[in-house]
């Protein structure tokens, strides 16, 4: 799950980025309108978090441009202008959600998660595969009723696989969605994390849920 955070306030962007990363999202940062535009058009994001008052190009212009050019990522608008008109205008221009500043971190994260779910046509915040349960809201994973502790990266990978259940997920897909622009790791790191995940989820349980398709990638069982 990769998120583009467009915010020019240093402290805010740093804190939000950290919070999102702790929630298992890969976060790219943009501090100006033009930078955000370049990044949004050049990479695949699940959600874009957009501040409206930005240097160079303002948020609403970016929003219009992206929607006009057919970008379908979900957009959460963050703004200090919290009047009804601003909200309506933002939503009408193609935003998916609107969060006026100042906001609580928990609400922000919940809205981001909701947008991610929506992006994968999932209504239930708890993903269930066989006897595996992933509570995306509480960030808790259980298998056969037993709670399993996962690092944010592992959680993120599992969530990504679950959202694409029954489909083959390539290493580059995983890499693109789970690692931000500043990660120097190659796609080999995906194999390492898959191994970690298997150790935690499949090792003591049957049947194994994470399957390997040689030459293609990985897949989690469809049912």
């Amino acid at each position: 799950m990769k998120i583009l955070l467009v915010e020019d306030h240093k402290l805010l962007s740093r804190s939000l980025k950290q919070a999102l990363e702790e929630d298992g999202f890969a976060v790219d940062l943009a501090v100006s309108g033009d930078e955000a535009d370049v990044k949004a058009r050049g990479s695949i994001y699940d959600v874009v978090i957009l501040d409206l008052m930005l240097p160079k190009i303002d948020g609403l212009t970016l929003l219009k441009g992206w929607r006009k050019d057919g970008f379908t990522f979900h957009i959460l608008v963050l703004t200090a202008m919290g009047t009804l008109e601003d909200k309506v205008q933002g939503l009408n221009l193609g935003a998916d959600d609107y969060l006026p500043k100042p906001f609580e971190l928990t609400e922000f994260l919940a809205r981001v998660r909701a947008l991610v779910r929506r992006g994968h046509q999932a209504k239930d915040p708890i993903l269930r595969i066989h006897d595996l349960e992933i509570d995306t809201g509480a960030r808790v994973v259980r298998r056969a009723g037993k709670e399993i502790y996962l690092t944010p990266r592992e959680f993120s990978l599992l969530r990504f696989l679950c959202y694409h259940r029954g489909k083959v997920v390539t290493r580059s897909m995983v890499w693109e969605h789970l690692y931000d622009e500043n990660d120097d790791n190659t796609s080999n790191v995906v194999d390492v994390y898959i191994r970690y995940l298997r150790n935690k989820i499949d090792k003591n349980f049957t049947p194994p849920l994470i399957l390997t398709r040689w030459g293609e990638g990985y897949m989690i069982k469809g049912d």
Partner: protein
């Protein structure tokens, strides 16, 4: 004034009523004067007519009298004793008698006397001592005539009197009455007795030269007439016709005097009836006059009413027409709301009187709109400037509390929050400074101080930032420059200008601060060789929250675009002129001209 329409209509109607009233009054007065004139002319005419008719009537009566007299003159017959005449064998006379009734009265026309002279006349006189008329004859001859009284006198004492005269006699002085004329008549009025007054004509006939026919009794202007007073001076008294043979013996005048008279009461009755008719006419005229006047008045009233109503209608329409642009303006003004400040009206459709209002209104609305937008923008900016750091702090603290962290992590987050707070405080102070400026709560506090010292302090404050960016600060001023101004605000101005000069500069750039005393003023210049300001943005840099080039990508995020707004506000408060000259990529110069008396000192330059 309740309503222009109402007032205009009332004024117009009042004016209309006034003009109609005065016009009507004048028309009525002139018309009534005319009618009065006509009436008096009519009255005069009636009077004249009356007089004419009286005169005509009298003339008619007079003529009638004369005619009777003449008729009588012809009919005078002498009572001839036929036997005596026969006895005298006056065949000549006897031949005159009518053969039809021998023995009857012999008719002897007057002309017969004319040739009778001397003896014959004596004879004749003796034979005809009396005159009498055949009453039947007389009646047939004088039928329908006016005369009631007849009297015939002769020079030879024969006379005749009509019965109506009874005992009365109409005297005539035969000796003096037209002694030379053969034919003469005169009219006169005569009081016969107490009750009876008559008008008579005295006709004297003596020698008739014109044969048996008497002149026709028409009113002959040439015949001698001596009409009495009523005729007045309108008739020239013409001499009586004098027969040419006046050489006849005047001692013998075989003249007969015939008098015919009528009772003047008869004429007076006639006159009275004429007068009555005249009075009736005059009354009719007066009534007619009154009626005309009334008709005219009614007509005038009707015309006035119609004109007033029509005028009222036209006035209403005109006022409506005249005020319709105002309605248009009103409706378009009423459409203005906080979302739409445009005046939806084309000025070309408005009349000249309203154009200044409309254009002024449009201008004001435009300014209002701009102010409104600026204010909205400012509100948004303030919101952003305060809410964003607030969100950042909230997010950071939430993040810190989310799970247990290492001491270093906590420290880092707390330090971030502190820095954020410090920045927020600066912003809040700037906003408050501007708010105080706007409210006029920040008074000008002048005192005498050393500007050089103040400038040095400011430079010192900025130097750490300048050093961190590798920028050199240069100050040139006199050792002491004592001026009288507000040092607090001047310091704020200088710090802001220097801060900006450093902020928008390139690494290795220079910032110059120059204090140059001029007669009566002090010029303070802050020059940098940094990025400069685009021409299009030069006017905007003093606006609140304006950033020439997205400051947050340059340096820290503390600058929220209020610095120059404060500089401008303070400069205005100090009464100082503020100018900016700039060239993009070559730097900007801010020039502050303080009007203040000061001591002129030697210029020195120091590099800090």
């Amino acid at each position: 004034m309740r309503s222009i329409r109402f007032s205009l209509t009332i004024c117009f109607l009042a004016l209309l009523a006034l003009s109609l009233g005065s016009a009507s009054l004048m028309a009525y007065r002139s018309a009534s004067r005319n009618l009065e004139g006509r009436l008096s002319i009519q009255k005069e005419l009636a009077q004249t007519t009356y007089k004419d008719r009286c005169r005509d009537e009298e003339n008619r009566l007079d003529d009638s009298l004369l005619f009777q007299a003449q008729t009588l003159a012809r009919l005078v017959q002498f009572h001839v004793d036929w036997g005596k005449l026969k006895h005298l064998e006056l065949h000549a006379l006897g031949m005159l008698t009518s053969p039809a009734n021998p023995g009857a009265f012999v008719q002897a026309p007057v002309w017969a006397l004319q040739s009778t002279r001397g003896f014959a006349f004596d004879l004749f006189r003796r034979a005809t001592p009396s005159i009498r008329f055949d009453p039947a004859e007389l009646l047939t001859r004088l039928d329908g005539q006016v005369a009631e009284f007849f009297q015939i006198d002769t020079a030879w004492n024969a006379s005749y009197k009509s019965n109506s005269l009874e005992a009365m006699t109409m005297p005539v002085n035969m000796a003096t009455f037209a002694p030379d004329d053969v034919l003469h008549w005169e009219y006169e009025e005569l009081q016969l007795n107490q009750n009876l007054k008559v008008r008579r004509v005295i006709l004297k006939a003596s020698r008739f030269l014109l044969g048996p026919t008497l002149p026709t009794p028409q009113r002959n202007r040439f015949s001698g007439s001596n009409r009495n007073g009523e005729r007045g001076g309108d008739r020239v008294e013409s001499p009586s016709p004098r027969p040419s043979n006046t050489n006849t013996d005047s001692s013998f005048r075989p003249a007969i005097f015939i008098q015919c008279a009528y009772d003047i009461a008869k004429r007076d009755n006639l006159f009275a009836s004429l007068a009555q008719q005249r009075d009736e006419d005059i009354l009719t005229f007066a009534n007619e006059h009154k009626k005309n006047l009334e008709e005219f008045r009614d007509m005038l009233a009707a015309i006035n009413m119609i004109t007033f109503l029509a005028g009222g209608g036209i006035c209403f329409w005109l006022v409506r027409l005249g005020l319709s642009p105002l309605d248009v303006l009103t409706s378009s003004v009423s459409r203005i709301n906080e979302k739409d400040f445009s005046l939806d009206i084309s000025e070309s459709k408005l009349p000249g009187e309203l154009k200044p209002i409309a254009s002024r209104l449009a201008l004001t609305l435009d300014q209002l709109k701009k102010a409104f937008e600026r204010e909205k923008q400012a509100t948004a900016d303030i919101s952003h400037e305060l809410r964003t750091p607030l969100s950042a702090m909230l997010a950071t603290l939430d993040l810190a509390l989310r799970k247990s962290r290492t001491v270093e992590e906590y420290r880092e987050m707390l330090e971030d929050c502190r820095e954020n707070c410090v920045n927020m405080r600066k912003d809040v102070e700037r906003l408050l400074a501007l708010a105080r400026l706007d409210a006029g709560a920040d008074p000008f506090k002048p005192e005498i101080f050393d500007l050089s010292q103040l400038a040095a302090d400011c430079v010192k404050m900025i130097t750490p930032l300048a050093n961190s960016k590798g920028i050199s600060m240069h100050i040139s001023c006199e050792p002491t420059l004592e001026i009288n101004s507000d040092p607090g605000k001047l310091k704020e101005i200088l710090v802001n200008l220097l801060h900006n000069a450093v902020q928008y500069n390139k690494t290795g750039g220079n910032v110059f601060l120059r204090l140059a005393p001029r007669p009566g003023s002090m010029v303070i210049e802050v020059e940098d060789d940094g990025i400069g300001i685009e021409e299009s943005k030069k006017n905007k840099i003093f606006e609140r929250f304006f950033r020439a080039d997205s400051s947050r990508t340059h340096g820290d995020s503390t600058n929220c675009g209020l610095g120059l707004a404060i500089v401008k506000g303070y400069a205005e408060l100090l009464g100082a002129g503020l100018e900016v000259t700039s060239q993009p990529d070559h730097g900007s110069t801010f020039k502050l001209v303080l009007v203040t008396p000061m001591n002129h000192q030697v210029l020195t330059e120091t590099v800090v």
